[in-house]
């Protein structure tokens, strides 16, 4: 994985001191809260319902064991012994004190981490496919270019006061695990007819109150040109993105208002100007230098099958279940990608205790894993596990309470912190998500239901990606009472789509029943091999709606 050189290291140190000075000025009253707010946000520090919240960048979701251990240390010393992984593959601490934050930044700098631009109206942490470097169908590892984006966007002098936040994601496979079309810029690494690798650039995706799937702006941008192209997009946005209304300030509004052709024309004009200058051309040697950091480990020459693995599947039902859902084929023979679910039934989605973090780091050391990944689905991933080691790895995970066998199933819910923590939220999301998990806890039933992505947000800002859920749940506030709307048919994958609202919302005591009726409708209507999303796309909303609301009416009489 990427290692800081003296320059990167100095940047994060100096950033910590810069922030210390900002905190000092705020405490002395030299900065108003209104002035301090964007400054602290650019350093990932929010003021929430009960306290400050600190968001730490995990660039393209990759962590080393020593970084995981440092997060555990911070969780114990400055927080309440746990942290929270988010849908943007960051880690959040919900209870730090303002005066401690500069010190936390230095602890992070010790292990080459930071909070730079994890919030605020600037280019945020860059995310990438969590199976990068391991996925069988990958054109190339999406992380080197993501690291180049990270450096280019860090302290960008022109783009630190954009109309609104700006998120970039990169994927290099047909199957899109990075939800690129839901980002302000989504990059898909592709090959052209001449066999050269380059980038397809989507712009203007986003959730929030006006959900949009991104439009294709750059059909094929060369490797040398990509930074100039991205800079051109950002410049058009900085100049013409709306600043009069926060709800219309994202680039998605500009792109969809101008249309793909006009937006592309404006970008091309800027792109030509930037190219003329030539200073942003990406030298192939630099890309190579960064790529070398992400070179895969030396894979052993292993057979496809492993007797240890086969024996464990026969002997241990828990392992067999886990293997069924939490393993993904690896590009190297005899290896697998293992997903560690952070959706333990009855636990807060994405939460992880300091002991679990240390435990994960210890497994990494013991089995020689150089890295662990954070996925935007709020799980962890061991990208390169020898199949023969899987039973032992699973046993260790299980002992840490991290052996839940539900990756991709109905209880693998994406969920924002909601009203329990967040002052933007209108409704609680964690208790609802837990109640759904409990209702569907039966593993056999989960397997029978197959892939169902439930995504839930406690407000219209959609941090829980409800627009992209096969089943999306949105918490709203109706005259002081929490209500939950259901959406169906969303997707965050390569077939990205915006979910459709089913109808009036449900109270907190009705929502779980309503979800169950949605699922039962699917079971009744499905054809062999169909996922809930496929059935919905085939039959439409009406049958679901009829079932869900008819039964609600019966219940009322």
């Amino acid at each position: 994985m990427y290692r800081y050189d003296e320059f990167d290291a100095k940047m994060v140190r100096e950033r910590a001191e810069q922030f210390r000075y900002q905190v000092e000025r705020r405490i002395k009253g030299e900065l108003t809260e209104d002035e301090f707010k964007p400054l602290r946000l650019k350093n990932g520090l929010y003021l929430q319902l009960h306290s400050y919240m600190l968001r730490i960048a995990v660039p393209y979701g990759t962590l080393a064991a020593r970084q995981m251990r440092q997060l555990a240390f911070i969780a114990r010393k400055y927080d309440r012994g746990y942290g929270h992984f988010t849908t943007r593959t960051n880690m959040q601490f919900h209870w730090p004190r303002l005066k401690d934050v500069p010190d936390i930044l230095h602890h992070l700098a010790d292990v080459e981490m930071h909070c730079i631009q994890t919030s605020g109206n600037c280019v945020r942490n860059v995310t990438a496919d969590h199976f990068a470097g391991a996925a069988a169908d990958e054109l190339e590892d999406p992380r080197p270019i993501s690291e180049i984006f990270r450096q280019w966007s860090s302290f960008h002098p022109e783009f630190n006061y954009l109309p609104r936040k700006f998120k970039i994601a990169v994927s290099a496979t047909k199957e899109d695990r990075a939800a690129v079309k839901w980002h302000d810029i989504g990059i898909e690494i592709i090959k052209n007819d001449a066999g050269e690798t380059g980038y397809r650039v989507f712009v203007g995706g986003g959730m929030g109150r006006t959900p949009y799937v991104a439009l294709e702006i750059g059909h094929f941008v060369s490797k040398t040109d990509i930074l100039a192209y991205i800079e051109a997009i950002l410049r058009v946005y900085n100049e013409y993105g709306r600043r009069d209304n926060i709800h219309k300030a994202r680039v998605k509004i500009l792109v969809h208002q101008l249309g793909a052709d006009e937006f592309r024309r404006q970008v091309e004009v800027e792109f030509a100007e930037i190219k003329k200058k030539g200073t942003l051309q990406l030298p192939p040697e630099e890309l190579k230098r960064i790529e070398a950091y992400f070179a895969p480990p030396a894979f052993e020459d292993l057979p496809d099958t492993s007797p240890e693995f086969d024996a464990a599947v026969k002997a241990d039902k828990d392992f067999a279940n886990w293997a069924k859902t939490n393993l993904t084929p690896h590009r190297a023979r005899g290896y697998a990608i293992a997903t560690i679910s952070l959706k333990n039934i009855g636990m807060t989605t994405g939460d992880i205790s300091a002991d679990q973090m240390d435990g994960v780091a210890q497994i990494m050391d013991d089995f020689g894993f150089a890295e662990v990944r954070v996925s935007h689905e709020q799980n962890l991933v061991f990208p390169h596990v020898r199949r023969r080691d899987l039973p032992a790895v699973f046993a260790r995970l299980k002992a840490l309470d991290l052996g839940t066998a539900n990756a991709g199933l109905i209880t693998d819910i994406i969920c924002c912190p909601g009203l329990d923590y967040c002052d933007l939220a209108n409704a609680r999301s964690i208790p609802i998500s837990m109640a759904i998990q409990k209702r569907f806890a039966d593993l056999e039933r989960q397997h029978d239901l197959g892939e169902i992505k439930i995504k839930m947000s406690g407000c219209i800002n959609a941090c829980g990606h409800h627009h992209a859920g096969h089943i999306g749940i949105l918490g709203v506030d109706k005259k002081g009472v929490e209500f939950y709307q259901i959406q169906l048919g969303g997707s965050g994958a390569e077939d990205a789509s915006v979910g459709e609202i089913m109808g009036p919302g449900f109270g907190k005591d009705e929502i779980v029943d309503a979800i169950e009726r949605v699922v039962e409708t699917y079971v009744k209507l499905r054809e062999p091999g169909e996922r809930l999303l496929d059935t919905y796309r085939r039959v439409g909303m009406t049958p679901f709606k009829n079932m869900v609301y008819r039964e609600q009416m019966h219940a009322a009489y």
Binding site: D5, D8, K10, Q151, F155, H156, P157, N160, E239, R289
Partner: protein
């Protein structure tokens, strides 16, 4: 307002004349774009230093044919969060090769000075109580830069490649 130029407090060469007010007999003047447009000939005939002040919504492209006659351009920050002028300054320097003064006016923060220098501002209308040591400090906060910009500073990538 005190003015910092090239890192030092300097005497302001321009007096801002609001629209509708008469020009003084001599000395440099700063006017809005509207005024500049309507009274361009008179202003330039006088052979006095002329500066134009642009609102954050005004693309400096509107001045591109007159740049040789303009001694300074003031770019306004109505609120420090409005970052359009960062792009305008860069465009003036890089696309139109503007060599005159680019001044930041309005509401901006200490924490933005280094970025402003990077994109081509060289003059700053600062608050009454602003100390020059603060300016120096702002310039020293970060030793390295990752991106090429108007200031021509070597990027980390360039330094790495030289090593």
């Amino acid at each position: 307002m005190p003015l910092i130029k090239d890192g030092k407090f300097v005497q302001d060469r321009f007096l801002f004349i609001p629209d509708g007010q008469a020009f003084p007999d001599d000395g440099g003047v700063m006017v809005t774009f509207d005024r500049f447009q309507s009274e361009c000939a008179t202003l330039l005939a006088h052979h006095r230093p002329v500066a134009v002040r642009l609102a954050s919504s005004q693309n400096p492209e509107v001045l591109k044919d007159e740049l040789a006659n303009i001694d300074a351009i003031a770019l306004e920050f109505p609120i420090f969060r409005d970052g359009r002028a960062f792009s305008w300054a860069r465009m003036l320097r890089e696309r139109y090769a503007y060599k005159g003064e680019i001044r930041a006016v309005g509401h901006f923060l200490y924490d933005q000075l280094a970025f402003m220098m990077r994109v081509g501002f060289d003059a700053f209308d600062v608050r009454q109580d602003f100390r020059i040591e603060e300016f120096d400090r702002a310039m020293r906060e970060m030793t390295y830069v990752y991106q090429p910009s108007t200031d021509g500073r070597k990027t980390v990538m360039q330094i790495r490649r030289e090593e």
